[in-house]
Amino acid sequence: MFLEDILQNMRPTPAAYIKAARQIELGGFSELKPISVAFLSTFTSDPLRPYLIVESATRGMLINPFFAPFNQLELQVFDSNSSLYKFKPDVVVIATRLDDISPNLIHRFINLSPADIEKELSAIELRLRGLIEGVRKHIPANVLVFNFAPPIVFAAGLADPFSKPSQFSVIQQANDRVAEICRNATSVYVFDYARMVSEFGLKYWYDYKLLYLGRIPFGANAQMETGRKLARYLRALSVPSAKCLVLDLDNTLWGGVLGEDGFGGIALGEDYPGNIYKEFQRAILSLRDRGILLAIASKNNASDATEVLEKHPDCILKTEDFSAIQINWNDKASSLTAIAKELNIGTDAMVFFDDSPVEREWIRSQMPEVTVIEVPQNPMDYTHALLDSGSFDQLTISSEDKLRGRLYRSEQHRKHLATQFLSLDEFLQKLDMTLKIGYVNSETLPRVSQLLAKTNQFNLTTRRHSASDINAMLESGAVALWLRVADRFGDNGLVGVTIAVPDKSGQWVIDTFLLSCRVLGRRVETALLAVLSDFVYARGCQVLIGEYIPTAKNKPAADFYKTHSFESLDSQNRFWKYNFDTSEIKIPEFMKVSIENVIESPQQSVSSSF
């Protein structure tokens, strides 16, 4: 049985976790990093066991836990022959509750004088420091120390914030002292129990029957959450944080596609939906402040993209915030490899954030060592997905970390580095693409005109025909086809258009051929061209001419006719000739193509009120 089989489709119930933990422990999964963790607690912590094991396994670790007998802390720490040291732990967790070690701070708080409070805080400090130093004398293990959550009800009730000092602030002081003790020791860190309870909801944290029957201070779901959080900390202790976040641009850093919507049309600003992306950019910048390097891997026109980064008033991320930039038309695995080489980091230290499921799948298949974040559909969820991914968990942030982003600066490169295990065709085959091609009619004309108006990159002639222009062309016998592409991840919609116009001599010229950026690099253009050539041949075409009019933005289309065996007719490479006798355009085998609305007679013009 594979690890994925155990972990996938696991219901979040106690029984499922218990069963999965058992399977993981018996499974002998060599890919998991073994880590021994010892728990010393003033409460019953054994119930955490299955959650700790399962959540750690999903993060690449095989936890071997040891739970010291109930309330044995000093007994275990100060005795060199204790079961704690016999266990040889990699990590020691010291988990105490104020209810157990300083009950006055919880129940009789109102009666405490400032001197009493100081006495309680000092006692807590002394005890925890003693335990930490005791562990450190014997073993170099990492130590995690629980801090303290607020009580369910304040002693002063609603009056707490108005009290001086408030119980809340005193508990915060206790937590500050815990942090100070940890900072002053080596390899000792705070486990932010207080924050975890707050995030989860203090109201839902306890299950009273467990508390009273078994001294277990968390309900089933809280146990699950604690296992999860502990697993993140354990991973942060044993695996270094990722070093570089690689970002896409369109529909990731801003809403919309720059190539289609233009500088003014992308969503990025103070109002909906631009504010979603602006907020996301702020979150990304906070990662950079932590010392994570930022990079861009985008299929876009470089100068257009740079213009947004440098001049857009709402673009918080600027060119200089990125340590490496790959904006080109190459596949993204090449871009990521180039970025890694430029920054001199391993590709396994990279995290990839891209809204396109196809690009994510490509990187997963080509570079399994890269962490690919499963980006949610709704951009409002981007920030949470990024920050909660666990890829950037660090237990401390050093001053070198804060400076790191500024130490790396680089120019844009255009390198080709191919390191592919799966061939492109194999990958494209796995996309399960289904193509539909049909004649332009009244239903499709609006979208077709829209594409003609917006598409800049893969557009051979950039002719902005209106709906009535297209009608006129159809009336004089032109053939106009649309292309729809769907794949395993969904329907991309109508994404391609071509128009071929006959002259009196049996020669046809391809007036328009374009594809939306969404489906570039997938060879669907080959299918559209193949079907077009078949259709015009059936109408008596003997010579088919392709035309390429270069613009600042359509470089991706420059080699289109050449790669499909058209012959250049002039030195400018403007006109290309297709020879029906000697060449054949084949639809790639991995695509399913179906033709709609097949009409035998010349295409009717479309009546519309446009």
């Binding site: 029984a15 058992r22 119930p47 089933a220």
Partner: protein
């Protein structure tokens, strides 16, 4: 006694105690299943709550000391939940 309820109870006991479903009977208890101690009993209570979507009280936890008792008490709790839902209308 619904056979569906029984099957689900047996499955939960099997998962938590790590014993084959076939070895479980209505007489199964901490006396007949070695793994059934005070610690795993707590896991069992939580697992039953999650599986059947009904909260169990501390008294229920103390009373559920055999599979037969589990079935009886669960059936009561489930019935009470659905009455409560109906009363809300």
């Amino acid at each position: 006694m619904s056979s569906n309820l029984r099957n689900r109870v047996y499955q939960v006991v099997s998962d938590v105690m790590d014993v084959p479903v076939d070895s479980i009977t209505n007489n199964s208890s901490p006396d007949t299943i070695a793994a059934w101690d005070s610690a795993t009993h707590i896991n069992l209570i939580l697992a039953l709550e999650a599986e059947f979507g009904v909260p169990l009280s501390d008294e229920d936890a103390l009373d559920m000391l055999s599979v037969r008792l589990i079935e009886t008490i669960l059936a009561e709790r489930i019935a009470a939940e659905s009455v409560q839902d109906k009363n809300l209308i």
